[in-house]
Symmetry: C2
Subunit: 909 residues, 2 copies
């Protein structure tokens, strides 16, 4: 059997892949656009006659440098068939047939490849068409476009000569748009354009329609291997071997009279997800008129009043396509002489809210399964619900002053600051600031962190500003080129609007819009009924638990509402940083005698007990993992530098003191400062992250461990006596050797026994450890002997696995690494699979070898990152733990990870 | 066949294990002492008659709580046989037989188990013996000792009552030693002692010799399970199941007349290793007289003049035993009435020098193989040759003023400092200091590091001072209790000698001796002919290469003399720290413009080129690994604290400035200080070890990499043109991601091509990387694609694997961890097998997967540590690299590791 190079739109059942129900294969052969046209034809939906030249033909062309044997014969036969079906003639002088020639690859590559419309026109055909339609303007304009497209696309002529001629014509006629030019003027342009093609390409514009067609198909084939298409594919990871299909379609005309028209519509509302058609149309018009906006379009709802038949038919087709594709459709249609034609259908784009609502509605309508709904919504779309947004009303009343790239989602409102130092100063003073810069650099990061949002006039999606903003969850718009920043005058100009430093500005990182003044925002809408339903379904599919990193009862209660099944990490030191407690904890550190120290520690006991009791109540019946004191002690004391400056100041004051009283006061202050300075100096460590912290503190100062354990168990007893069900789990941080854990475990067990004996209450509890040091991962087998559970502290584990300080590595070099491609992802945002992930796997193998059912989880910042959650699922962890506001994202990501794993298992099996 | 419980000394051929040539089994059954006695008997060497009760009998006793069936009957039969052979009678009144009852386990447990001598004495036997010997003093003293030993060992009475009675008797007689008491006094003590036994144990001292024997044997059995013996075994990892044998031996008397005598001797000189008998003897004396030193002993050489027969026989036996055991022997002998008896032989203890010489001599004598010689000398013994020692002449002329524990080898001479701050101050001022403290604590470490040696008046082998001293290779003597330290008067007193702070003192950490003043030292004696020979043999067995960590040509030349086969690590930054270069490198860091910076970098080029050329010449034909710049930049600048203090001082001076000139000068200084301060502040990092250093610097400042690469290649070209054979290997530090290496490699290759093109010379070179970050180990497969070699930086790898800062972790908590047993070894001294070792294995598997023959080595401090070297051998590394003075140790350790691996393979096969 010889190879077949094309299929007519109604040939779907002859496509070998379709016979095998290999719909991915159909798209591979016919391209996305061609496959959908064939689908529609098979469903009996009216599409203009036409055919699709396969991607295989494109690949054969690329290889041979010419049409493969048989292709042109098939094209001729297919054209003859169209003529027969339509009763029109290609190049005919009575009822002429025009066709469009469009590329259509398997994956959408918007704007990357070529199209030639109105193929089939020449002087004779034009005359025949004017005869037929009575619309010389339309016909000459179509003819003009064909010649221009043929010249640029097929012959590779620069567009400037054509555009220059149009410019001159508009100037002569005193109009702004080409469509306002008279038919006579356009007719002259047709002549001019033909001349230009002949001059620039040293070859006449072909009057033979078949020659036009042949060259157009060839041009589309060639455009697959254009440089810009290759670059795009390299960036999007689309294989070069796919090739593009070519769709040749009979043209229909929505401007052929009062019972003609054209429009675009989505099968549901792409903004809200409401289940009703949403779109625009124009009577007696061509598709480009709808887009160009030179005539006011009308909403699709009104079509029924004007043309009830086609309107009803279109609504039915919309439903039919949704049922067929089981997704919201974005359709183009034309009505020619009262007859409806569908020109294209594809999956519609939608906002996050719409995506969630459509997915849930479609399940309720029986169109898709719950599983499919959960797969369709992205974690980023759920994330959208968690960032402040401009309210719909506010948005409808505000006009953007500029547009840029929507690089980091969410809305931000604040006063403009043009330099990072000022942003930081105002930020620290409690003002909401938007940092506005031509572009940002590593030196600006402190200002970016202090700002509510970031706006730059240049820079792309991977610019420094974009990377940093996403990294830190700051709303940002970059590359807003309409804005001019004057750093000398300290203002920005957008069109006629001038905004001074200190004036308010509003940016929408979700859309890329910039507004003057303060646009009201609305808070995260987590009570959205569709989101709640969707996340409930996600919970049915996920096997990974989702816990919360919280430090106080209010946070815990919120996390529970958001769906947390326990606390994965309570950082007890956060309780010590509270202003009322810090002096007591400082006393623990600066105490001169052990007795003094013990008294200070004892004073913390009732405070910690209340903290823990609150957590147990909020998480009644659910596990609460409490981590023992972790950070280096110096974090609780004033900084060395500040103390030193104070001492210097006091010394200078001393030199100038005017009387004895003043002298004594200064001296007393100086002594106190020097004493604190001595303590801070003694605690100074060269690399505090690798120093005296975590379990090392617990071993050096066992009274702190005893106090914290006692607070946990006394709080548990208290809650039990109230009738509650506390589930404390104590976690030992920074273990690198099993002996550290063994000793702390013994200490904790002693306290537990003592409290239980004193109270007569039995407390069920677990003792476990963080795996956050490479050695702990490597020796997890031994460690598991003394751990009821392990929890990966992936932040610290990343820090030591990479030897990159969390504290300040970003500024020092990590952002440079991301910008110049040494790293493709920030390992503090997404778990590094090759390094940290491998250590996690080694740890789990070891721990499970000793203790097959050991509970395991992740409690680092990675717990809220979808890619990291997928890894956690693959590793078979029991849960991830993240901050309260990431819990919904984590629930969905966990479900999707489980579904992907099911797919992979299905393929493997 | 019923079980046999004892073997006479001449029954060796009946021992089942001996029949199977299972000599380890013989020692297991008869204990070390018993096995050697049986050996000697079998060799025809005269040993007194006797027998060994087996360890199996001991174990049976431990299990049953009583003698197993048949044992006592065998003892009775064996005693009868001794009586028959000796013609003496146990408990007889004419020619009485006395026996000793001694423990003797498979492994020596000095002082842990019990012994009863002179068994068989009672009033009648004593009278008979006085009749026979005419020496009432000797007989009553023997009798007194039996009763005392029986009382304490068998009956468990405290020794105090007996010692009190002796004290009172000495006081009454006005003598200092028991041996000076008259026979009459001792006779009274015998009566008193019998009374004490009766009173304290509520049972009479048994007059029946057989009863004495039975209880003595039982007591030795019991002593196997005494608490101290159990503790000792636990600490020495000797299994509890071994049991002890019991040796019962007829006593012979060296004090029975002028043709009797006794002595101890080694078959070679235990100090120098000279192949001649070395020992002492006394005529008409008992063994304890030789030890007690109340009569001057005579050197063994003189025995020939006095008793030529026994002397000749002893010399022959000594040779015979050496030949039999193939090692130097430590023997006890007694001559009774002209007849020589060997009472014991065992392997002799020896100094490091002697160990080396004996091993080499024995190979030359054909006694042992080269392989055995290499196995016998320990790395610690080779290490001895590398520390300064007091010269032999100096030692012979100096009298120690005190003795302590020899906890860290080597001699140190310096002025006494009683506090660490002073030690540090004097040390920094270039003075040799010995830090003298009652004991040390973590706060003292800076002073210990600054000192040449450490001396404490209290503290044991595992005291803080001992651990730290060994850790840092500082000679140290601890627990020198004869010294009294007066911290108020700032002096120390030893006997009548007073040494003031600032006076000289000398300590010998190898022997534990303390001397007043300056004892002259001699330098490492690496030219020792025997050591040279031994290390040459070691080289024949080792497969692991040994390279040197050196930074300049002189060091490199020395390392080559010591046996280095190349440079494993040249730290280029050490060249920048040189006083003449530091200002230039500081200029690189503080440059305001890129151009200024490039000029400063260029100024370094000729200096580095000369450095490298020198190294290539010194290591002509051998590989030289040059590591690119590694440390964080702030290390090259003054400290923040010092700068801040300077600024404060200048500010205060400014306030008091008296004229305009002074003001201007101060102001200029202040501005400069502030400018440096600003740069230091900008470079400040929270955790510099995890910050901008290593390859990260090379990527941020590629001009430095280019300059260093150019210096390497230009130096290589220069040396080639001189006719040399340079083998440069460039090493990229701190790689955590393959992309870092890839980019630096490209940079280096570009420079290499450029230099080769400019010069027209071809330079062979390699580019590799350190594996010193866990992620590099975990992803070594990918990294190996761009690395010609890998070198483990085990210091940094330990730092990140454990999350322990190298800079100051020791003081912060690591020493505590070692002291309280959380860690059993300092991971910065010996590679942690479970964590770091496992990462190394993972890295090697990965790298070899990509590149099977990739060169690998270790260049951390661990490269000179024998246990770590053994691990490196097991991992199949190509070489270890260590500081020049550790190279001989590494050569031996590498050979021993290879031999152990051969043994293990032999066993497995």
């Amino acid at each position: 059997m010889t190879q077949r190079w094309l299929y007519k739109f109604n040939d779907l059942e002859e496509v070998p892949q379709a016979k095998e129900d290999d719909w991915d294969g159909v798209r591979g052969l016919l391209g996305g656009k061609g496959a959908n046209l064939a689908d529609m034809a098979a469903l009996g939906i009216p599409v203009p006659h036409g055919f699709t030249i396969t991607t295989e033909a494109c690949n054969a062309y690329s290889e041979l440098g010419q049409f493969p044997d048989g292709l042109w014969d098939e094209v001729l036969a297919a054209m003859a068939a169209i003529e027969k079906s339509t009763g029109k003639t290609f190049g005919g002088s009575e009822n002429p047939l025009l066709v469009s020639v469009r590329s259509g690859a398997k994956f959408s590559m918007p704007g990357m490849m070529d199209t030639v419309l109105n193929v089939g026109l020449n002087d004779d055909v034009a005359a025949a068409m004017i005869e037929l339609t009575g619309d010389a303007h339309f016909v000459f304009d179509s003819y003009r476009r064909l010649i221009q497209m043929f010249g640029t696309v097929v012959r590779g002529i620069d567009s400037e000569p054509f555009e220059g001629a149009l410019r001159r014509a508009r100037a002569a006629a005193g109009v702004a748009n080409d469509s306002e030019l008279s038919a006579d003027v356009i007719k002259e342009l047709v002549t001019d354009f033909k001349g230009m093609v002949a001059v620039h390409s040293r070859k006449e514009f072909p009057t033979d329609p078949m020659e036009q067609l042949r060259h157009s198909v060839e041009a589309v084939f060639k455009s697959w291997n254009s440089k810009r298409a290759q670059d795009y594919r390299a960036a999007s990871k689309i294989p070069d071997t796919l090739g593009t299909a070519v769709n040749v379609m009979a043209m229909v005309f929505g401007n052929s009279g009062e019972d003609s028209g054209t429009g675009v519509a989505m099968s549901r509302d792409g903004k809200t997800g409401e289940p009703a058609l949403e779109g625009d149309y124009l009577m007696n018009a061509q598709g480009e008129d709808v887009v160009a906006g030179n005539r006011p379009t009308r909403p699709i709802e009104e079509l029924a009043g004007e043309m009830p038949g086609p309107a009803e038919e279109f609504a039915a087709i919309s439903k039919r396509l949704e049922t067929h594709y089981r997704d919201m459709q974005d359709m183009e249609f034309t009505i020619e002489d009262g007859r409806l034609w569908l020109l294209q259908t594809r999956t519609g784009k939608r906002t996050a809210q719409a995506a969630v609502r459509i997915a849930v509605d479609m399940v309720n309508e029986g169109l898709i399964s719950k599983e499919e709904a959960v797969r369709r919504v992205t974690p980023e779309q759920v994330d959208f619900f968690l960032h402040p947004q401009f309210s719909a009303e506010a948005r409808s009343q505000s006009q953007p002053i500029a547009h840029g790239l929507n690089v980091s989602p969410g809305a931000a409102v604040g006063v403009v600051a043009f330099d990072p130092d000022l942003a930081e100063r105002w930020g620290k003073a409690g003002r909401d600031v938007v940092l506005v810069r031509p572009e940002t650099k590593p030196d600006d990061v402190h200002g970016m962190l202090a700002a509510a949002g970031i706006l730059t006039s240049s820079g792309g999606r991977t610019s420094h500003a974009a990377l940093v903003a996403r990294q830190f969850g700051k709303p940002a718009v970059t590359g807003a080129t309409e804005i001019e920043i004057d750093l000398t005058a300290r203002n920005l100009t957008a069109g006629s609007i001038v905004i001074e430093e200190g004036d308010f500005i509003s940016i929408d990182g979700t859309t890329g819009e910039v507004f003057a003044g303060q646009v009201p925002t609305v808070s995260p809408d987590l009570d959205n009924e569709w989101l709640t339903t969707l996340l409930g379904w996600a919970d049915e599919f996920r096997t990974l638990g989702v816990r919360a990193n919280v430090d106080d009862p209010e946070d815990a209660a919120r996390a529970r509402r958001y769906g947390a099944s326990g606390v994965g990490l309570c950082r007890t030191e956060h309780m010590f940083f509270e202003p009322s407690r810090l002096p007591i904890f400082r006393h623990v550190i600066t105490a001169e005698t052990l007795g003094e120290q013990r008294d200070a520690i004892d004073a913390l006991l009732p405070l910690q007990r209340d903290d823990f009791a609150g957590l147990f109540r909020a998480m009644d019946g659910l596990p609460v993992i409490i981590r023992l004191l972790d950070p280096p002690l110096h974090e609780f004391l004033p900084g060395w530098e500040a103390l030193h400056r104070t001492a210097t100041d006091l010394q200078l004051q001393l030199a100038k003191a005017e009387n004895l009283d003043a002298l004594e006061t200064i001296l007393a202050d100086l002594n106190e400062t020097r004493s604190m300075l001595a303590r801070v100096t003694a605690l100074h460590e060269a690399n505090p992250m690798l120093g005296l912290r975590g379990v090392r503190l617990g071993i050096k100062m066992p009274d702190i461990t005893r106090m914290q354990a006692r607070a946990v168990f006394e709080a548990a007893v208290q809650v039990i006596e109230e009738g509650g069900d506390p589930r404390p789990e104590i976690m030992v941080p920074l273990v690198s050797h099993v002996n550290e854990l063994q000793r702390q475990r013994q200490l904790i067990e002693e306290v537990a026994e003592a409290v239980m004996e004193e109270s007569g209450q039995r407390v069920e509890y677990l003792i476990g450890t963080m795996i956050e040091v490479p050695r702990a991962a490597l020796t997890a087998d031994a460690i598991a002997e003394f751990a009821d559970f392990i929890s990966f502290g992936t932040n610290d584990l990343t820090q030591t696995t990479y030897a990159i300080s969390r504290d300040d590595a970003e500024e020092a070099f990590l952002l440079d690494y991301l910008a110049n491609g040494i790293l493709t992802a920030n390992p503090f945002a997404t778990i590094d699979i090759d390094g940290v992930g491998r250590l996690m796997q080694i740890a789990l193998e070891g721990a499970r070898h000793r203790s097959p059912d050991i509970e395991s989880g992740v409690c680092g910042e990675h717990g809220g990152d979808p890619a990291s959650i997928a890894l956690c699922h693959e590793l078979g962890l029991d849960y991830v733990s993240c901050s309260a506001f990431r819990i919904p994202v984590a629930r969905l990501a966990a479900a999707q990870a489980a579904l992907r794993a099911k797919d992979a298992a299905g393929k493997a099996g």
